[in-house]
């Protein structure tokens, strides 16, 4: 347990440090960081297996006063490590005639640091330190956005750092308030900020103060999770960042922020009527889905398109969290599926951008004939993102609607379905425009560096596996996490 946690966290740190120390940059560093990512992915899987075997719903594999891995942490850790591995393997700085070494170095440093901070965020059990880690993710990821410094990237990085810092600061204010509540009612206790302790003693806490705290926390982490109306940084940052980073941000960073919200929700629900947190989450979730959906209708850039679809999906997850056990199950499953599908789509978008040298949908035509494999995989990614079978997101959206109807919230189901149709219509329109039509002149035909395609094809396979046979370990992991979050 402890060892696997060690091997989960340390390799990215090593890779980052190595990238800092070794200069000028050499390909070796890149490969080392790939290997490290692989190791930590293996470790995360081991961790997940251990948790499943331990089988205890929530009680917890506390490793020390500081670290703690339960099902939810393991789930997130697996996602993070997986996407990191993809990003690291397909990122710049691996082949000889690669990009500018300075850029590669910057990328390797902060990509690994980024991964490290995310992994820490999901495995640490002190809510304040969790906050520290999440704030750190902002800093590390922000440093990679202006990898190639253009006006756009600078603007995007400024908006990202400013909005997210302000938001995350609010989350800390919420944390402090909750702590204040705890200290005021329960007095000084060692490990009072460990959220298990918080949750155990939540019944004593002063409900209204806790509600205020949750308001701060929801807005704060919600900013990071891209919930509307705090999502505004997201399309800019995700579209300007280098594709591997976009993949990590969109695929898992948002999920990490929602992880924090889920943890706090568990605490607050123990003290106040869950109706409060549920309705807040429902409200922001529906708003996100709405804004995400309608921003997709008239969208000119495919990376921004993917970004808005992330907003929409995070909204769905938030709604799921508000819909009781089944909804939470659907939400967590959706997090996993979305991590795979969205990271894949962003990496493919990177290949398309590299070939067509434009992010405009209107100028990317005849993709299926220019890059047959990339094109078809991209199509698969989009079709998965709109929630069609046989891909995983269909299952999770199906469960989400079912949860809504079982919870008697028919109007939620109705609204979500209408919005999903809007999303489908717009995405399929854009996809249609990109895949078919005349090939623009001056674009070379055929695939280059085909092995990334293979890697991405694997994640397509994963998506199908998730959709057709939701594997037992994963569903067990998720249902354990549900029991950990919902009391």
């Amino acid at each position: 347990m402890t060892t696997s946690l060690f091997f989960l966290l340390i390799p990215p740190a090593i890779a980052a440090v190595l990238a800092i120390l070794v200069r000028p940059y050499t390909r070796l560093v890149g490969w080392v960081s790939v290997v490290c990512a692989a190791i930590s992915f293996a470790a995360s899987v081991a961790l997940g297996a251990a948790v499943v075997n331990a089988g205890v719903p929530d009680d917890l594999v506390a490793l020390s006063a500081l670290w703690r891995v339960d099902a939810l942490s393991a789930l997130l850790a697996v996602c993070i490590a997986f996407v990191t591995l993809l990003a690291s393997a397909l990122g710049p700085g691996l082949d000889a005639a690669g990009e500018a070494p300075a850029q590669s170095r910057q990328f390797r440093i902060f990509m690994n640091a980024f991964a490290f901070t995310m992994l820490v965020a999901v495995t640490i059990q002190n809510v304040a330190l969790m906050w520290v880690a999440i704030e750190a993710t902002t800093i590390t990821s922000a440093m990679v956005i202006p990898l190639t410094r253009t006006k756009a990237s600078v603007e995007a990085s400024w908006k990202y750092i400013l909005i997210c810092s302000v938001g995350i600061a609010l989350a800390f204010a919420g944390t402090v308030l909750a702590y204040f509540d705890f200290v005021a009612t329960a007095g000084e206790v060692p490990g009072a900020l460990n959220w298990t302790v918080l949750r155990e003693s939540a019944r004593l806490l002063h409900p209204q103060l806790l509600q205020t705290a949750f308001a701060f926390i929801l807005i704060g982490y919600g900013t990071k999770a891209g919930l509307a109306p705090m999502h505004t940084w997201l399309p800019d940052a995700h579209s300007e960042a280098p594709s591997p980073i976009s993949a990590m941000m969109s695929g898992v960073l948002l999920a990490v922020a929602l992880y924090a919200i889920a943890r706090w929700k568990a605490v607050v629900d123990a003290a106040v009527n869950p109706w409060f947190t549920n309705s807040l989450l429902l409200g922001f979730g529906l708003l996100s889905v709405t804004i995400g959906a309608f921003s997709l209708v008239i969208q000119r850039h495919y990376k921004r398109m993917l970004a808005y679809s992330s907003v929409e999906h995070m909204g769905l997850v938030a709604i799921g969290l508000a819909l009781g056990p089944l909804g939470t199950f659907a939400a967590l499953l959706h997090v996993v599926n979305h991590a795979v599908a969205k990271s894949m789509s962003f990496l493919l978008a990177g290949r398309i951008l590299h070939r067509y040298d434009t992010t405009e949908i209107g100028r990317v035509t005849g993709l299926l004939r220019v890059m047959p494999w990339t094109g078809s995989l991209f199509a698969v990614g989009i079709l998965a993102l709109v929630g069609l079978p046989p891909f995983g997101l269909f299952v999770s959206e199906f469960l989400l609607i079912r949860a809504a109807i079982l919870a008697g919230r028919f109007w939620v189901a109705g609204v979500v379905l209408v919005l999903l149709l809007t999303v489908f219509a717009s995405l399929i329109t854009h996809l249609n425009r990109m895949l078919y039509g005349e090939m623009p002149s001056g674009v070379e035909i055929g695939e280059t560096r085909s092995w990334p395609v293979v890697a991405l094809a694997l994640s397509v396979g994963l998506l199908i596996v998730l959709g057709v046979t939701l594997p037992q370990p994963i569903s067990m992991l998720i249902s354990q996490s549900v029991r950990g979050v919902i009391r």
Binding site: L162, T290, I298, F398, A425, N432, Y436, L470
Partner: protein, 678 residues
Amino acid sequence: MPSGNLGLVVMVLGYGAGAGLSLLAPSDRAARVLTAIGAAIGCIGGLIAASSVLVTRVPVDATFGSLVSAAGGVAIHLDPLGAFFLLLVALVGLPAAVYGVTYTSEYEGRHSLRLFGLMFNGFLLGMSLVPCAANIFTFLFAWELMAITSYFLVMTESQYAETRYAGLWYAVMTHFGFLVLLPMFLIMAPGSGATAFADLRTHAALMSGSAKSVVFLLAMVAFGSKAGLVPLHVWLPRAHPAAPSHVSALMSGVMIKLGVYGVLRVVVDFLGAGPAWWGGLVLAAGSISALSGVLYALTENDLKRLLAYSSVENVGVIFLGIGAGLVLQSYGLHTLALVGFGAALLHTLNHAFFKALLFLATGNVLHEAHTRNMERMGGLIKGMPQTAALFLIGSAAAAALPPLNGFASEWMVFQALLSGVQIPQPDVAIGAPLAIGVLALTSGLAAACFVKAFGISFLAMPRSEEAARARESHWSSRAVMGVLAAGCVGLGLAAPRIFDGLFRIAGSLFAAGSSASPPAVGRLWLAAPNGVAQVSPLLIAVAAALAIGVPVALLRWRGLQWRRADTWGCGRIQQTARMEYTSSAFAEPLRRVFSELYRPTEDLTINVHPDSRYFIRSITYTSAVVPWIERAFYDPVARGMRACATQVRRLQGGSVHLYLLYLSGALMAALVAAWWFR
């Protein structure tokens, strides 16, 4: 292993192999052949499974609970009704697959035949699995497999912007249906979270009337959009022409019928008898679809669009049968109700045959004439006599002319509607004669429509070079069309036996029905309920053969001498194709009669000689039919969506201050909420 399960295994393996192998095929040619072989094996498997169930009446069951256990696992249950539709898939799929081998040869090098093979087999697999599905997840899975693959099949000839547009319409409409399907099933699902169809059936019995009605309405919308009921038919006349012809044959012959399957399964099987207005609604929908379908078909000059609209019409006829059944059932007249359902099933089967035949024949025509526009065809009967003859059989069947199969099923629908007058309440019963009037008008118009379809494109003088040069297609495609044509005749003559079987299938849907016995008299007679009227297609055929054959024989015996001459041209020496009656001219009278529906836009510009207005240089006349039904329903939606989108776009204004303002606003709102909530 019972033959049923064996058949299913063979089916799945066949389609799977076809998909996989054609994807990995070494050459385009190999891809074509492998596609067909896999599909054929799959169809044969489906044939085995379906017929074993239909013969032994023992349903086939199989469950794979481990797959997606979270969503209820994958479950298969093939009962007679499902078997009938599985049979439909296989019966049309087999000819289509064989036909495709030669038809897709022209795609070599232009489109990816590997992808096509994958999608084609996936499409067949999806369609075959829909009637086998025994729980919500499996059904939706198969349903969407069918939808996605058919989307890519429609997009095959993506070089045309028109095709891409059609694909868009198709995708959106089909997904709309899918998203309506979800709540429909989930409302029926019991709170325990069980999703097996058996549980749905039991739970539906406990549901309140209003909940049942909601499910019914959702089912009508969801399955109606697949079946192409007006006004949800918009994708049909776009997608069918765009798709390759044998795919159109499958879509029109089988896929839209799965909408019929859905309605029968959910409304008749799960919900059971409902209030009379359900049936009334179905009758209304059927009447509107039948009438407007055939009317739009009449004014079409695009041969495939014409056939697509005719599919809308036939689906309308099918729903007339179902509607009659529902109304009668709601009054407890179960035997009569079964006649309605049986008639619907019979017409489903018959339409599958003649529409597939027509689309395949059209495929040959397209291949030769290189256009779908009838006004550039003509005289094809000289170049391709056999295709012409086959198309004629199809048209006659579509016009419900005896003794072909279309006649048998429409006669049964007539009788089913007629028995509606036996409903005790006159104010309800009066609906039956009205529906009969609609159906009669529809069949008359259908006859006119297919006179036009055949006469304009195959008869008289060719209107274009290509049409003049048209030659017969590959023998294999003619062979499969021959099989389908034989089916059209055979199903017509054997209608009494078949209807007997379909009646029992419909009877298996509800308890009261299983005891009822079909009104068929012997094997020769197609009989109305209570035997108040009979008709024997076989005898009609024999008598007609006599009545036509004897005069022929007599004239031959007397010997009639004849000679060739030019068509009389009112004194003109030379008849040219320009002087022939065109497709639009043929439809003109009816277009005037129904101008209320068509709202035709006409524009006549006469370019006269500068010296005297009596010397006319050129006359240009353009006229178009306004599809106002579509406009009325879909334009507002599109406009609303765009409006919302433009509003939402404003939010992302670009100013970081604005964004921070949102953030602060959200914070304040949340704080106030937290402050209020006690």
